[in-house]
């Protein structure tokens, strides 16, 4: 039964990475900006939760959502001058902002880490026969599914969602047809910030010690997943994020212990292979488009 157990854990971790992937993919789709500093929004949510340990979970979660959306809006304002800059510059600039925020956290909160205990109860497990499932796996899966469904509805059934999809398809034409650039970009950041808040709530249950670089590794892995899955569509991006989280958890659990230190190499090697075979992404539809000349 251990395989089933590991599969469940892997699906739960995959769902978390899928959420991060959607947050990154939303902003990329519209602004063509890969936001390395997305992880720092997750970290901000984590610190907010850590400082509200004593208060009720509802208050803590609301404050976490507010903090994440606030920081996302600040980032939106900061990245505004980058619109239309070369991809290299954008990438390094968001890297710089990520570095800056991490060092601000270091200065403000120290390097030792703050524990979060708000929803610690979710770590208890329920037993089904030989199977032990932690509540957090179930909650993570349910929350991720609900949020993905909500995001899809928002994008497909509301006016602002239509504007966002139009902007993602062709930003200039969308503007000519009356889509307001600042509003549509800001709403994508708000949505991404909201998803980051959900990720920090779920992540702090599994990994309660919030350090200045808390969000970095989850963002890096999700980003790798997003590119492997295919950046150009939200569905393929989130599938890619899910796949990398799933693979990381499952392969990590299945590898013999003396080999598991090379797990990152294995994963990165697979990433290179996938990119070489399908540069447009594993889940991208059909052949990649011919270069625009």
């Amino acid at each position: 039964m251990t395989l089933l157990q590991q599969l469940i854990d892997a699906v739960a971790l995959g769902a978390l990475y899928g959420l991060v992937a959607v947050g990154i993919g939303l902003v990329f789709g519209i602004m063509r900006l890969v936001n390395f500093a997305y992880g720092e929004i997750i970290t901000a949510g984590g610190y907010t939760l850590a400082y509200l340990n004593g208060s009720s979970p509802v208050v803590a979660i609301l404050a976490c959502v507010a903090a994440c959306i606030g920081l996302a809006l600040v980032q939106e304002r900061v990245f505004r001058p980058l619109r239309g800059a070369s991809p290299a510059t954008m990438l390094v600039a968001t890297f710089a902002v990520s570095f800056l925020l991490q060092n601000i956290y270091l200065l403000a909160f120290g390097s030792r880490g703050k524990p979060v205990s708000t929803l610690g109860g979710l770590n208890t497990a329920i037993s089904l026969g030989t199977l032990r499932i932690r509540w957090i796996s179930i909650v993570a899966l349910a929350v991720a599914a609900a949020l993905l469904a909500g995001t899809t509805l928002l994008l497909n059934r509301t006016a602002i969602g239509l504007h966002m999809r139009a902007a993602a398809a062709d930003f200039r034409t969308a503007r000519i047809l009356g889509v307001r650039a600042n509003r549509v970009i800001a709403s994508s950041f708000v949505l991404a910030g909201f998803l980051a808040a959900a990720v920090s709530v779920l992540l702090t249950v599994q990994n309660p010690l919030v350090t200045p670089d808390y969000g970095v590794s989850v963002t890096l892995f999700a980003l790798v997943g997003v590119v492997v899955g295919g950046l150009d569509r939200l569905a393929s991006a989130s599938l890619g994020g899910f796949a990398i989280g799933f693979a990381y958890s499952l392969v990590g659990a299945r590898l013999p212990t003396d080999k598991s230190q090379y797990l990152p190499s294995l994963l990165y090697g697979t990433v290179i292979l996938v990119l070489l075979l399908r540069p447009a992404g594993l889940f991208a539809p059909g052949k990649s488009a011919v270069e625009r000349v």
């Binding site: 800059a85 290299a88 902002v97 601000i104 270091l106 590119v227």
Partner: protein, 331 residues
């Protein structure tokens, strides 16, 4: 003749840094040495990223390989059999001087880059960025755990240190090679693909081949600069040649201006200088009055300055132009 100004300016700047550095105290000299080595690494990055327009997060892998090879080869054989008994024989039983170790580091960096580049240079844009990042991740992971090729999680200790003039010579060599490359037909063809890949291809330029040439050369220079790095520091660990170095050198390149050698050198020296200055300010400096900054402000300020320059002046401080004397305008 006019062209050579483009080379003379960065070289003179490097010489000036070394000259000022040699006049200061030993402790202060370390900061000048650090600036020179950073300049060499950034120049190596520039050769590929600047000329091709493709962002690579992987060049620090070649720095790491160069640093490890050069560091291990310059240790005494008796030391190695004692401290690092698990090394493969070729690394354990040989000892070479610093200059030869630097040449070997360049060869190893170039070879590694060539092997990696063979498949990877087919990619461009973000997939290229992520794939090269994956190379960095693998290099770090393997160096950190494989005891046959290094000390794994420990440091390589007691590497002979080089002085400021040796390091400057190394940085100047990388600058000369980079300059020669960008004037060569290879460099010009690659720069054409950067401006417009489709048009370059239509004019008979083989994009993949030109990128591979630059990637290999950049890898060799990065390996060489890695050798300089290990002889500057006197020891090295895997964490010193990973994410932070990648980020800081890329930021130096972009802050200076990706498109020119002058930009690479200016960016590297300016950010290194600012870094040292802020480090001092944390331990009180006199600027008319006594200034003491709280610990940790160095990195925050550095991050803020880099983010500001990148956001407000995305083409870099030099706007990607080579240094040139002001031209006289005809009326």
């Amino acid at each position: 003749m006019r062209r050579l100004v483009g080379l003379a300016a960065p070289v003179l700047l490097l010489v000036a840094v070394a000259a000022v550095g040699s006049l200061t105290t030993a402790a202060r000299q370390l900061e000048f040495e650090n600036a020179l080595v950073k300049a060499a690494i950034v120049i190596a990055l520039y050769v590929f990223i600047g000329n091709s327009g493709v962002v690579s997060f992987g060049q620090v892998s070649f720095v790491a390989v160069g640093a490890y090879l050069s560091g291990l080869l310059t240790l005494e054989v008796t030391q190695k059999s004692f401290v690092l008994p698990n090394l493969i024989p070729i690394l354990r039983d040989h000892h070479v001087g610093t200059p030869l170790s630097l040449v070997l580091a360049a060869a190893a960096g170039g070879l590694y880059a060539f092997v990696v580049g063979l498949p990877l240079m087919r990619l461009s844009g973000l997939p290229a960025g992520i794939a090269t990042f994956a190379v960095l991740g693998i290099t770090y992971n393997v160096l950190r755990y494989w005891e046959k090729i290094g000390p794994a999680a420990q440091a390589i200790p007691l590497v002979p240190e080089s002085g400021v003039w040796t390091l400057m010579t190394g940085a100047v060599i990388t600058a000369i090679v980079a300059f020669a490359y960008q004037l060569s037909r290879f460099g010009r063809r690659l720069r054409a693909t950067r401006e417009d890949a489709a048009a370059a291809q239509a004019s008979g330029i083989h994009v993949y081949r030109e990128r591979l040439v630059a990637f290999t050369l950049s890898g060799a220079l990065a390996g060489f600069a890695g050798g300089l790095l290990v002889h500057e520091l006197g020891s090295i660990t895997t964490d010193q040649v990973y994410l932070e170095l990648t980020f800081i050198t890329l930021a130096m390149l972009v802050v200076g201006g990706v498109g020119s050698l002058w930009g690479a050198v200016v960016g590297a020296l300016l950010i290194s200088g600012l870094d040292s200055l802020l480090g001092d300010a944390e331990n009180t400096i006199h600027v008319g009055f006594r200034l003491t900054l709280p610990d940790g402000t160095r990195l925050v300020t550095l991050g803020a300055v880099m983010a500001l320059v990148l956001i407000l002046r995305p083409s870099g401080l030099t706007r990607g132009r080579e240094f040139g004397l002001p031209r006289r305008r005809s009326v």
